[in-house]
């Protein structure tokens, strides 16, 4: 039977007890939801609201990377490039054509998706390592193109004066908590979309490719097409995250989304649990709040991210909330009988 070493099973029991008791789990989830919604209203300083906004944003970025790395098994370490593409598209459309956030974000997703296709199509035919290399190169190329194409991106001067999102004439800022609710809604939409994709034939195809690509091919799955689909969807959602961030900070230059952002996103996915969704929320919450809480540690935070990657791979590769969940398989609606 499965060998379980002593160190990690304390964490497993804690997580299992939560899962087993359905009532407690649902109570916990809606508790978290109410806290999330009430936050801006209970008079917390706008700084803390901003921390929670960033947690939600990085949860979106983590979920998108999780789609290609956690569910489809292809490691991408250039996702900051898609944030930059989404960010620049939305910024330029907003500054030059005065497009409001809703439309510019959609365009940002489309452009990021197209570039995901351009990078993904040639390299996803090959074994995993080549995609990782290409995405690393891609992240750097985007930064350099942003720096060199002054005519388009303003080069090192960047793009400033981006307007904040306006919904029904009401400007959303961190002060009035508007941005916080916007990112919560986006997080909800992205989570729903990914949940729908994973609980379907496409999600099963992704996971089959992750577990054994050759066997998946022989089950009739067109692995290249599905890997590209997963990569494009992941790029689009990351572009959306980039677009939101740019409208929050109202400024973007080539160094806004550098390699450190890619590493942060992959650390969130690894720490929380590859191939799960709840793991990503936990990973984002931990990794975004810890530099704020432990001020002295913020100087060492990059080393800590590095350590997380190494130690997690060594001791708990499936991440805190990852691994084989004990919950029974969630039958589609209409099928009774608890086949445990």
């Amino acid at each position: 039977m499965k060998k379980e070493n002593k160190k990690t099973n304390i964490m497993d029991n804690f997580v299992d007890q939560i899962n087993q008791n359905k009532k407690l789990k649902y109570a916990l989830i809606c508790l978290l939801l109410c806290v999330a919604i009430a936050l801006p209203k209970i008079g917390l300083s706008s700084f803390i609201i901003r921390v929670f906004t960033m947690i939600a944003l990085y949860a979106i970025l983590g979920l998108s990377l999780n789609l290609i790395t956690g569910y489809t098994g292809q490691v991408s370490i250039g996702h900051a490039g898609f944030c930059a593409i989404g960010g620049y598209t939305s910024a330029l459309l907003n500054v030059h054509f005065g497009m409001t956030f809703i439309f510019s974000a959609i365009c940002a997703m489309i452009v990021a998706g197209i570039l995901g296709l351009l990078i993904g199509a040639p390299t996803l035919r090959l074994s995993g390592t080549y995609l990782t290399i290409a995405t690393l190169g891609f992240g750097e190329i985007v930064r350099m193109m942003a720096l060199n194409w002054d005519w388009l991106t303003g080069g090192a001067l960047g793009v400033s004066g981006i307007t904040r999102p306006v919904i029904f004439g009401f400007e959303l800022t961190t002060f009035n908590g508007g941005l916080y609710y916007l990112v919560l809604v986006l997080l909800l939409l992205v989570s729903l979309a990914i949940y729908m994709i994973i609980r379907s034939k496409m999600g099963r195809a992704f996971m089959a490719i992750r577990d054994d690509e050759l066997a998946a091919t022989l089950m009739g799955i067109n692995t290249t097409r599905y890997k590209i689909t997963s990569f494009v969807i992941s790029a689009m959602l990351t572009g959306l995250g980039g677009a939101f961030y740019v409208h929050m900070v109202r400024f973007i230059d080539p160094n806004t989304f550098n390699f450190d952002i890619s590493i942060l996103i992959i650390s969130i996915v690894i720490l929380g649990g590859m191939g799960t969704m709840k793991g990503i929320y936990l990973g984002a919450a931990l990794l975004i709040s810890f530099p704020e809480c432990l001020r002295f540690a913020s100087e060492y935070r990059f080393i800590i991210y590095g350590l997380i990657l190494v130690l997690m791979m060594r001791f708990k590769p499936e991440g805190i909330l990852g691994g084989q969940s004990k919950k029974p398989y969630k039958m589609p609606s209409g099928i009774e009988g608890d086949y445990q």
Binding site: K201, A205, M207, A208, D211, D212, L218, I335, Y339
Partner: protein, 262 residues
């Protein structure tokens, strides 16, 4: 002897060479519907290579493969599975981090036809197809006695169950012919006896099976016809009894008798 019904799979002088070495040399054989045909031969004779050619992993140098009236040699693995040929692997290749039922559902991938919009917005079409496929998967798992392990993970199952799950996944593709690549490999006598019974139940259900196997006890007592391959060439074919005492077959396995050792 089974009545000769429809010819399902016909392989005509199929061959492939890897850098000068003729791994498979002009092999020809037939499989009829509802039949169990076995291919036996010493290790490295080229049996698995033949299967890899059949299922599109390698591209053959020459020869034709006609399946259910359609030429399928050198087509992509996806097209061949859609045509109706499913297979298992010598070393079990299940999807370890997916549930047992999800492994079977993945087998049904080619026949679950709803598109991205259906799955994203959970349309009625999506819900009906998912429900129908899940029920079918449960039924298949029930038929192979794994109904109580639906939510479990393959890596937690005993070896025999894993092999049966792999076969169940192949069945789930609604294949007309199932290729079993040394299913009894690494099994103790008791497990291979269970496997033998299981294959027999499959035959009763009308599945056509192409079997590669070493375990003579399984081959001799379940196959309708047997082909013997040695050094990439077909050396013999016929009924199990004929093959059992065919001189060439014994030589291929045990080597030549030395006539006059002085």
């Amino acid at each position: 002897m089974k009545t000769k019904n429809k010819l399902l799979l016909e392989v005509q002088n199929l061959s492939i060479s890897f850098g000068g070495l003729k791994a498979v040399d002009e092999v020809t054989f037939k499989v009829h519907e509802g039949e169990i045909v076995s291919i036996i031969g010493p290790n490295g004779a080229g049996k698995t290579t033949i299967f890899n050619l059949l299922t599109g992993i390698y591209k053959s140098d020459s020869g034709k493969v006609v399946f259910d009236g359609e030429e399928i040699q050198n087509r992509t693995p996806q097209e061949i599975v859609k045509a109706g040929i499913a297979r298992t692997f010598q070393n079990i290749r299940l999807f370890k981090e997916m549930r047992v039922i999800e492994n079977v559902l993945t087998g049904m991938h080619i026949n679950t036809d709803y598109n991205f919009v259906d799955l994203l917005f959970r349309t009625k079409k999506f819900r009906t197809i998912e429900k129908e496929k899940t029920l079918k998967a449960i039924e298949i798992l029930d038929s192979i006695g794994l109904a109580d392990k639906i939510s479990d993970y393959p890596s937690n199952l005993p070896y025999g169950d894993q092999r049966r799950l792999e076969i169940a996944r192949a069945i789930a593709t609604d294949a007309k012919i199932i290729i079993l690549d040394e299913p009894a490999a690494g099994m103790n006598p008791q497990e291979s006896e269970e496997l033998l019974q299981f294959i027999k139940t499959l035959v009763q259900k009308g599945y056509t099976i192409l079997l590669i196997e070493h375990d003579m006890s399984v081959v001799m007592n379940v196959s309708d016809r047997i082909y013997v391959i040695d050094h990439g060439r077909k050396v013999a074919e016929g009924l199990p009894e004929e093959i059992a005492n065919n001189k060439l077959v014994i030589e291929a396995y045990l080597g030549k008798e030395v006539e006059d050792c002085a």
